[in-house]
């Protein structure tokens, strides 16, 4: 091990390899041999090749690295690769290094009247590389589509050490297999993202928020359905139960947060309609926020709540579709008891998605069965596995697992990358 650390020090410099006082860069209980801070793609190539040759595990993060399965391995922190390399307003694109802080990136673009809609996964630490590595479907995805649709090209270092570049500034491309979007959600198992070309949008010409204190999540969900019946599709349409909502503002019931971006006439009208529906739902308090500073502060608080939700390990996310949220909330109480008093429940009305703080080992299967009864399912890999089990379809379960692991081993024949990920 000392050989590889010496080799990596030779690549990135002694000052960029840490072997003591590492916890600030790590998440989890296992202990890597070193935390390294590459400053260039060439550095990343050197690190990965050294690890590949020595059969040493590697994981990567923007500021913090997950250590599951990384005992004795290398934690790569990308925070030195944090530059915006090129903003191209004409093509609405931007080349950015993978270690750039996500929220800082959003704010810098906003100053140029450009919009990068994906929400940071964890606002205090998330990087742009992490954004696409996770490939989230966030609260804005109904209007802006999921995170993956904002990647146009990237440069990565494959687990075998080659530099891989794919994509262009064109928003249309059907040349070859779609490796551009396939990277989203692959969580570093295909290698380390070093630079990303993202798609941008013009900044919205107007934005308003509506907040409301609504008696219950069910009442909020009914209002969400009514809002959509009016053909109003806000940017975000979220409800937080009391425990989470109170981290944004004090409420007696659940907190509804509605974001309306667009053009001046429609945002003004939609705000009125949304507020009216929330009042019909029994809101004890509503407010339309037009002041920019107040608007920004509200969504800044929301992003902190989002970080808390995303970093919570004991949670289950599931989707039932926007029209079935009311039914799902009713059934959920039978599984996790009183959802209003739960430590955390988030309803994303437009995505028809609910996140509930609960032990997945204890409740994910029951929640999945309930969601399937409503035409939905638990999200992600766990959901895929639970669906197969619910149908008693071991053949599909095994085949999906075979395909996933076959792809992974083609890219990473020695299995050195992201060891904590089990497919």
């Amino acid at each position: 091990m000392s050989d590889i650390i010496a080799k990596i020090k030779g690549i990135v410099g002694d000052a960029n390899v840490v072997t003591a006082d590492m916890p600030q860069y790590l998440k989890g209980n296992e202990q890597p041999a070193a935390v390294v801070f590459p400053g260039s793609t060439e550095d990343v190539v050197g690190i990965v090749k050294a690890a590949y040759d020595a059969d040493v595990k590697v994981n990567v993060g923007g500021n913090v690295v997950e250590t599951k399965g990384l005992s004795g391995g290398i934690a790569v922190v990308m925070s030195r690769m944090n530059q915006i390399e090129e903003v191209d307003p004409e093509n609405l694109t931007c080349w950015v290094q993978a270690g750039m802080n996500h929220q800082e990136f959003v704010e810098k673009l906003s100053e140029k009247k450009l919009n990068f809609p994906p929400e940071p996964y964890a606002v205090s630490t998330s990087s742009i590389g992490g954004c696409f590595s996770i490939g989230d479907v966030d609260s804005k995805a109904f209007n802006y589509l999921p995170t993956r649709t904002f990647i146009l090209a990237y440069e990565s270092v494959l687990p075998t050490g080659e530099v891989y570049k794919v994509g262009t500034k064109c928003i249309k491309c059907v040349s070859g297999y779609d490796m551009i979007h396939f990277i989203a959600g692959s969580r570093a198992t295909f290698g380390i993202l070093t630079r990303v070309l993202v798609k941008l949008l013009p900044a919205p010409q107007a934005a308003k928020a509506v907040v409301a204190d609504v008696p219950s999540l069910a009442a909020a969900a009914k209002a969400f359905k009514a809002i959509q019946k009016r053909k109003v599709f806000p940017t975000r349409l979220n409800a937080l139960n009391k425990a989470l909502g109170n981290e944004v503002m004090e409420t007696s019931g659940c907190l509804v947060l509605v974001d309306i971006e667009g053009f001046p006439v429609s945002t003004a009208q939609y705000a009125k309609e949304v507020e009216a529906e929330l009042k019909i739902a029994g809101a004890s308090f509503t407010k339309v926020i037009e002041d920019k500073a107040e608007y920004d502060e509200l969504w800044s608080k929301w992003l902190k709540v989002r970080e808390k939700i995303n970093l919570e390990e004991n949670k289950v996310k599931f989707t039932v579709g926007p029209a079935k949220v009311v039914n799902a909330l009713g059934s959920l109480s039978g599984i996790v008891s009183n959802i209003e008093e739960n430590p955390g429940v988030l309803v994303e009305g437009l995505n028809g998605k609910i996140t509930v703080f609960t032990d997945p080992d204890a409740n994910a299967a029951a929640i999945n069965n309930m969601a399937m009864g409503l035409g939905g399912n638990v999200s992600g890999l766990l959901g895929s596995q639970l669906r197969c089990k619910a149908y008693n379809d071991n053949e599909m379960l095994e085949e999906i697992s075979r395909v996933l692991n076959s792809i992974r081993s083609e890219f990473d024949p020695k299995g050195i990358m992201a060891p904590g990920i089990k497919l």
Binding site: D88, K113, Y164, K172, M396, I400
Partner: protein
């Protein structure tokens, strides 16, 4: 040629009349929009996922390759039968299985025609945004295979952006569901995205969960006429810079303006260098300001004329020329090769200039229509298939156009796919590491190269 025992087995799976092995019966399934032909040994028409599974398993045992086919409108050769293959035609799997308006999802079989989905959804005030030019004929399975685009892509995205999940039969004969009825259901790897656009080379899609949405409340259609394509390009860039993402930004050059005038007399000036059809949609209260801004932009870009449609009839008149554009070139030459190069918007004027050079260098006639907002150009190279010299010039000019696209930091295919026509240029676009990555994907799904072999890449 298939043995009688193989034919008997195929008929036992699909039914007597849904297997064709006669030369005359197979002819219509041996070519596609490229005008090229393949040589297959049979055609099967499965009606269910189980029949697809049984066919895949039997063909694998027999070592027979399978080529999937929808309506055969492909223009890159992706549906051309490979030698000794069986064509699997999905025309019988054409049910619209479910429409769930409140949850914005529909479940469809691959053989359903895009237009039929649109017509059904329109009755409820909904639509499915991907709208390839072939939408009245092309099937959803074909659209999925190529990740088809269309005029509305600039604002709304391409096929891959509207697929929640897929039921897929893999080369192993196993059936899997990837994704679900929302965007959050992928089993970590986004298998839906790697399958969409894979040209039937790694799995056969037997059901798709597509995202549908309400038809926008209002729409405004505009026509801007310019002296030069460069001016039109400038207008496109300035519209986007003004913070407006139109639904469509379609461009036609002088040759196409004239062929469409010959064809149907749409009323466009024959001396115009280019025209732009621009549409914006959304809340009615937002559109007037956008129309006004676009008018100002067009004026600044030296437009000769700028019209805003005030009735459905005027909208139809504006779209008339664009709708007949491809067919109208038959007045100049009997055949055309449609190209699909795409460049960054900023390089659009350079692409137009490069097309002019190709015309001179290769002695070919080219008319260009383009989805200008997303830099996707369709230079139509006109030729006579009976004239070998013209066919040779066509092929040489097409290769040059692809090289130009790559040199202009673009791609050889924006929405038509690679098939066999553009396969030779793929290494230039992606390099050795990129090509190796494609092979990793193909090997993961289809190591025996049974599904649509020879398309997109060679193993």
């Amino acid at each position: 040629m298939l043995s009688q025992s193989v034919i008997t087995k195929l008929k036992s799976i699909c039914g007597e009349k849904d297997v064709i092995t006669s030369k005359i019966g197979m002819y219509a399934y041996g070519y596609d929009g490229t005008m090229l032909e393949g040589s297959h040994v049979g055609i099967v028409f499965p009606e269910s996922t189980q029949e697809v599974v049984d066919l895949v398993n039997f063909c694998r045992e027999q070592g027979i390759a399978i080529v999937p086919r929808g309506a055969g409108t492909n223009v890159s050769g992706g549906t051309l039968p490979s030698d000794g293959s069986i064509v699997m035609n999905f025309a019988r799997m054409k049910k619209l299985l479910e429409i769930d308006l409140e949850n914005y999802v529909a479940i469809v079989e691959p053989g359903v025609v895009n237009w039929d989905i649109q017509e059904t959804l329109a009755k409820y005030g909904y639509y499915y945004p991907p709208d390839p030019a072939s939408w009245k004929a092309s099937t959803l399975g074909g659209n999925l295979g190529e990740s088809s685009g269309g005029p509305k892509c600039f604002k709304y995205g391409v096929t891959r952006d509207f697929i929640y999940g897929l039921e897929v039969v893999l080369p192993t004969g196993k059936v899997i569901w990837v994704g679900g009825r929302d965007f959050s259901s992928e089993p970590m790897y986004d298998l839906t995205r790697i399958l969409v656009g894979s040209e039937g080379t790694i799995g056969f899609i037997t059901k798709a969960a597509i995202r549908i949405q309400p038809i926008p409340e209002a729409k405004r259609t505009m026509l801007a006429i310019f002296n030069t394509p460069e001016d039109a390009s400038q207008a496109v860039a300035d519209i986007v810079s003004a913070g407006i993402i139109p639904t469509t930004l379609e461009m036609m050059d002088n040759l196409i303006i004239n062929t469409t005038e010959d064809h149907c007399g749409a009323g466009n000036p024959r001396d115009a260098g280019a025209l732009l059809i621009i549409e914006v949609d959304g809340h009615p209260g937002d559109l007037e300001a956008q129309v006004e801004t676009i008018g100002e932009v067009a004026k600044k870009a030296n437009s000769k004329d700028f019209k805003v449609a005030t009735s459905a009839a005027e909208v139809d008149k504006i779209w008339l020329a664009r709708r007949v554009a491809f067919g109208s070139v038959a007045r100049v030459k009997p055949n055309y090769g449609v190209n699909d190069i795409t460049v960054p918007r900023s390089n659009f004027p350079k692409a137009i200039a490069a097309i002019e050079k190709v015309k001179k260098d290769f002695g070919v006639t080219i008319g260009t229509v383009a989805h200008a907002g997303d830099g996707n150009l369709h230079p139509l190279i006109l030729f006579d298939q009976r004239n070998k010299d013209e066919v040779d010039s066509l092929h040489a000019a097409e290769m040059e156009l692809c090289r130009i696209a790559i040199d202009l930091e673009g791609t050889i295919s924006g929405e038509h796919g690679i098939g066999i026509l553009k396969k030779a240029l793929l290494p230039k676009e992606f390099g050795p590491v990129g090509m190796d990555v494609f092979k990793k994907v193909k090997r993961s799904f289809d190591p025996q190269n049974q599904f649509n072999p020879g398309k997109l890449i060679d193993l």
